[in-house]
Symmetry: C2
């Protein structure tokens, strides 16, 4: 079990802002998961991986594929009070779900360093 | 209602690692909150603030004060597979809880930029 959070690196968010957006996606993805998936993920120690996308469109495509596969998703739009324009898509959580189901979608993507 | 996540800036974590640790704290803090606090925070749009601490000891002190005040807390220790030593305290979530109750503890602290 794991959860991946993919961030829109084209926004070049400052690290505190990025962390808050990733946390937002993680909590919403958790809420959107089934009771069974929640429980298995918690038992596994809540593994999380933060990956990079190059654009908002890449996040939309990933969301569409993950939803088609029946995985819980959470696409995060920023309220835009501070750093970015209102409604800007900052990141996407996929899972918690089985590793293999997630790797089918994000397996070739790079980590955020 | 809000949740604050305070990070141990002395570790100088790379931004992807930092984001994952903050997300970990946010989810665990959410799980630790009461049903009423969860619900009020979700209705408010899950406000989150990421603040900086200069040391592990500062996180321990904040955890102690927040616990004494009856607030949900989540102190995160890294498994240490990659960037830091196993058991290193990376961050602390306080809340979701009432703004005022959290500001009593972290009101003078600085944002992570």
């Amino acid at each position: 079990m794991k959860q991946v959070i993919i961030v829109n690196e084209s926004l070049k968010l400052p690290k505190g802002k990025l962390a808050a957006q990733v946390a937002h996606a993680a909590v919403q993805g958790f809420i959107n998961a089934s009771t069974g998936a929640k429980s298995r993920w918690l038992k596994a120690g809540m593994p999380k991986v933060v990956l990079r996308a190059e654009s908002e469109n890449e996040l939309f495509e990933l969301e569409s594929r993950a939803s088609s596969d029946g995985l819980p998703v959470a696409l995060i739009r920023d309220a835009g009070h501070t750093v970015v324009k209102p409604g800007t898509v900052t990141c996407l959580a996929i899972g918690p779900a089985e590793d293999e189901a997630i790797d089918n979608i994000t397996g070739t993507m790079k980590l955020v360093r």
